[in-house]
């Protein structure tokens, strides 16, 4: 009998409607208005790669050990270096990173012994062409320059 009355008066539908109405208050709005409102991604976020420089001397931290290139499952990092005959140390010449094939797994970052390669919180690096996704050393050091959003 109770079940019958519930059916007749559509109680269950109204209960559902109550849930919907309860969330109508503006403070329950959950949507982020990207790009007008920029999300704060987590500190550990694995986004755009960056090749860190020593802030004091402005020299690259990379020691050209090639470990990141070996660790990468997609083999998309190419490190080239020459050996300096005076100091007998390897010096970085070119560093390419193909973000179009990268899956941002973080294995290269974990492999780097000097924290030179880092995946940063930058997440906007869409490009108009595939060529633009292959980053050279300069781009890796300076970071991407996204077009600012104008409302």
């Amino acid at each position: 009998m109770r079940k019958f009355l519930r059916t007749i008066f559509l109680i269950d539908l109204f209960e559902g409607l109550r849930v919907t109405l309860r969330y109508q208050h503006p403070k329950n709005i959950y949507t982020e208005q990207y790009p007008a409102e920029r999300p704060q991604v987590a500190e550990r976020y694995r986004g755009a790669p960056r090749l860190n420089k020593n802030p004091d001397t402005n020299e690259t931290l990379c020691i050209s050990c090639d470990l990141c290139a070996i660790a990468c499952p997609e083999a998309l990092i190419v490190v080239t270096s020459i050996r300096n005959p005076e100091t007998r140390r390897k010096e970085l010449t070119e560093f390419t990173y193909d973000t179009s094939r990268c899956m941002f797994c973080g294995l290269c970052e974990d492999a780097c012994p000097v924290d030179a390669l880092e995946l940063t919180q930058d997440f906007e690096f869409a490009q108009y062409s595939r060529d633009g996704l292959i980053w050279d050393r300069q781009m890796l050091e300076d970071g991407p320059r996204p077009t600012p959003y104008k409302a």
Partner: protein
């Protein structure tokens, strides 16, 4: 297609691969007699990437991010299964703290996967509201993932032998806050759907698969439990310390679409319970076991299966003593569960096929690999 496939009274209807309710790129060829479905044929492989073959060409460590891309809705579970398989092959075991964190994250992932299933399933049936609420809660889970391991979907959260990342400050509080708020949210979904006449009419008695059929097809996970079989690998063959936690296995009776809905809703509540217990008893200690730098397991083979949100997820790995696996085979739950579509859809109406595909909870990334 053979000649006999076409009959004067039969109509062949192609559904997918870009039909929104086929959850990706599943193509179903429906044989129809009027509105009635007399048979189905699944065409899969549109998302085939050869993940198993890639595994043979990568080292054990390198392959870990790829498994996330099979069932991308439950990437953490995939990663756990893979890490457990390789750990068994190596004969190491993750330290207790790592195991507890793994349990927390996989259970959160189960909740996220079920929420996503609920939202899209309801959307297929025609209820547009739940998906908004489901994705809101899923977002909370993804935020925990993002803060923990830096990615939201394809997380690569676990490493062979333990964890790469220590938990962040506020991890426990965030998980507990989620567990506190979550049961009330499930109540909201239930208020929207469980008693709703349209929902009941669309789901009750649709796509019945009884326990014997389930066993014959090898169907696992919530589908099997909805048919009344109390089988959960977390209880039957505990891994990663699941035996320490107290939870129940929800089961259904009829094995229809409605029961599967109920079972998954209960499972979400149970997962929240497990998360709370695991967070409260999170042990201190190391997070990484002693694993050689170059992983080179002795020749041998292992099969490890875990309870993924969709069913039994198994990894069969054969090592020949080199740094790459000799063979890596994945037993994906969605692929096996999808076989039962024909059995369930026979005799149903076209509109029910949408509900039946939804209730299997397939992810095509996993079906095709």
């Amino acid at each position: 297609m053979p000649e006999t496939f076409l009959d004067s009274t039969e109509l062949i209807l192609n559904m997918g691969p870009q039909h929104p309710s086929t959850h990706g790129v599943l193509r179903v060829i429906l044989k129809l007699d009027g509105e009635k479905v007399t048979g189905t044929d699944c065409v899969i492989g549109y998302l085939h990437r050869g993940v198993e073959k890639i595994g043979e060409n990568r080292t054990y460590v390198m392959f870990a991010p790829y498994v996330d891309r099979m069932d991308y809705v439950a990437a953490v579970s995939n990663g756990l299964g893979y890490c457990l398989a390789i750990e068994k092959l190596l004969g190491v075991e993750a330290p207790p703290r790592a195991q507890a964190v793994r349990v927390i994250l996989t259970e959160l992932n189960r909740i996220a996967s079920h929420l996503f299933w609920l939202g899209t399933h309801a959307l297929d049936i025609g209820a547009t509201t739940p998906v908004m609420y489901c994705l809101r809660e899923r977002e909370e889970v993804l935020k925990i993932f993002e803060a923990y391991c830096g990615a939201r979907l394809t997380t690569h959260a676990f490493r062979i032998g333990g964890l790469q990342y220590e938990t962040y400050d506020g991890f426990e509080q965030q998980c507990l806050a989620f567990c506190d708020a979550f049961p009330a949210r499930v109540d909201d979904y239930e208020a929207l759907l469980t008693g709703n006449r349209i929902w009941i009419d669309r789901l009750k008695g649709v796509g019945i698969l009884n326990a014997d059929d389930c066993k014959a097809y090898g169907v696992t996970g919530p589908m099997l439990r909805a048919a009344g079989v109390k089988w959960d690998i977390r209880k039957a063959l505990p891994y990663s310390g699941y035996e320490k936690y107290d939870f129940e296995i929800p089961v259904g009776y009829n094995g229809d679409t409605y029961d599967r809905y109920i079972v998954r809703m209960q499972e979400m509540r149970q997962s929240a319970r497990i998360v709370r217990q695991a967070v409260q008893s999170l042990p201190e200690g190391p997070i990484m076991a002693k694993v050689p730098k170059v992983i080179k397991p002795a020749p041998g083979e292992v099969y490890v299966s875990i309870e993924a949100p969709k069913g039994e997820l198994g990894y069969y790995v054969v090592s020949d003593g080199t740094i790459n696996p000799y063979r890596l085979r994945v037993r994906p739950p969605s692929f096996v569960n999808l076989q039962s579509l024909d059995k369930m859809a026979k005799g149903a109406l076209i509109a029910d096929v949408v509900a039946i595909i939804g209730t299997i909870d397939i992810v095509l990334g996993e079906v095709d690999r």
